[in-house]
Amino acid sequence: MRKIRQSLPLLLPLVLSAAVWLPIVFLVGGSFMGEAELTASLAPVLSGGEGFARWDLIPLYPTLRPYVELLLDSPGFFVMFWNSVKITLGTLAGQLLVGVPAAWGFARHEFPCKNLLFTLYIVLMLMPFQVTMMPTYLVLDRLNLLDTLTGIILPAAFSTFPVFIMYRFFRGIPQALIESAELDGAGSFRIFWSIGLPLGAGGVMSAVVLGFLDCWNLIEPPMTYLKTKALWPLSLYLPQVVTGRAGLALAASVVALIPAILVFLYGQSYLEQGIIAAGIKE
């Protein structure tokens, strides 16, 4: 009886979990249905057929055809996938290259106007895309980077959010370690390289995982600054496939999902640490 009372509150998260798992089961299950089965069950939604749509959790006639067609006969898909990879890797590389030293500088050094600058970084990290939309447009226009992948990557590389995340981790390194290295005659770059980086690796990983999930899901900047559809990332292009070819669209959705899920499974603890690092008060 006590056991039941203890588990009773778990009903709420259990019901909410269903809302998470159901769409995923629909998505994955649907991607193995043939075009015919999908068209039959989704006719009311897709083409105005009679009655309600239905969706079987498990395909009646499972098939790999949508995947085969996607991977062998859809060159467009590969271009978009590759665009997503380029944008994501480029942005992450840039964020690490400038962000890691900056985070270390803020966390471990004193310099003029430091507090003011850091407050500025926090304010910028809190501004939504709509605020920076026109400023970024003006710069990209001036630099002739509109409608290029570089124009998407560069502004994102200077995002202040990863700096803030890594800053929280670098702050956690004990001062005594750094002082003893200074006594041994290590310079500030050596300390950054051999103490800061290894001990702050968790912070770097957290920033990478959060950054990856955000980049892979990028919508607003490519939609605003990229006119050429051949440059679009998957996150923006996928919904365009939807019209008509439901099977293909579902297979494409699953393939687009795989990298994000892999990063999530591998980096879940970093993801949690990153969320917490942004959230706790100093």
Binding site: S17, F52, P101, F111, L126, M127, I219, I275
Partner: protein, 281 residues
């Protein structure tokens, strides 16, 4: 030059590349946008507050600002309290917490683009949700083409962000020292008293950051709204984000500049106000 000033300059060296980029890509152009918000779109002549007046008298702006405010006013308290409830439940069941934490974080990893088709199949007038509702004898609605679209948006936001907030609340819960709970138990406090008198007050510091972060994430629902319903969705879910991208496409740069400055100012003000409110707590 003594070694201390040298050390100070070295610190600046670490942040210099980042600072340069931020200056070039954000600060300088933002100042330019502020300047443009006071000038005409065509000739660049100074027009005072005319652009701001235009924005405020614009019907689309009023609709979008009203919807955005309404959206934030509904979804934030809902998300913050629901995630607190889930966090407290999971905190009391550490053995099951891992599975649920993973579950609620998964939507963060799912690209919006991957679930667009599912959302359409679910919320279409002849879609799955309506078929379930009618199966239980209810009356379906055309979710995306009526004022119900607003609630689909609120639901999507909670779906996406529940895990994020649960993690933050659980970190806050873990920070409360067990001594206080033991003291409360010795004083004979029941579960409810302990929750309202011990747990809640000690969670207040987390509330500020959770509120700010949830507010920011609320701007990202535009992704769901845009991919599911396009540039001009049902008027109940026409948000400031739609308005911005539509003005951008129409090249209404004068209005866009004024609106960007306004949004930046409102957000800055909200953050400062919230911080003030919680610091005087």
């Amino acid at each position: 030059m003594n070694s201390r000033t040298a050390g100070r300059m070295r610190g600046l060296l670490f942040i210099l590349p980042s600072l340069l980029g931020v200056g070039v890509f954000v600060l300088a152009p933002f100042l330019e946008v502020v300047r443009r918000s006071f000038t005409g779109a065509m000739n660049g002549a100074f027009v005072g507050l005319k652009n701001y007046a235009d924005v405020f008298s614009n019907g689309a702006f009023r609709l979008a600002a009203g919807n955005t405010l309404r959206f934030v006013a509904f979804c934030m308290p809902l998300l913050i309290s629901l995630s607190l409830l889930v966090a407290v439940i999971l905190y009391g069941n550490p053995r099951r917490a891992g599975f649920f934490k993973t579950t609620f974080l998964i939507p963060m990893a799912i690209p919006v683009a991957s679930i667009v088709l599912i959302w359409k199949a679910l919320f279409h007038a002849d879609g799955l949700v309506n078929s379930w509702i009618t199966a239980f004898g209810g009356q379906g609605t055309d979710w995306m083409q009526s004022s119900a679209a607003f609630w689909v948006l609120v639901g999507s936001y909670i779906w996406k962000n529940l895990g994020y907030d649960v993690i933050l609340w659980m970190a806050g819960l873990a920070n409360i020292s067990t001594d206080i709970y033991e003291a409360a138990a010795i004083d004979g406090a029941g579960a409810w008293t302990t929750f309202t008198r011990v747990t809640l007050p000690n969670l207040l510091p987390s509330l500020y950051t959770i509120t700010v972060l949830s507010f920011l994430n609320s701007f990202k629902v535009f992704r769901e709204a845009y991919l599911v319903a396009g540039d001009y969705p049902h008027s109940s879910m026409y948000l400031l984000q739609h308005l911005f991208s539509n003005w951008f496409r129409e090249l209404s740069m004068d209005k866009l500049a004024a609106a960007a400055v306004l949004v930046a100012a409102v957000i800055l003000l909200l953050i400062l106000l919230l911080r003030r409110a919680w610091e005087t707590e």
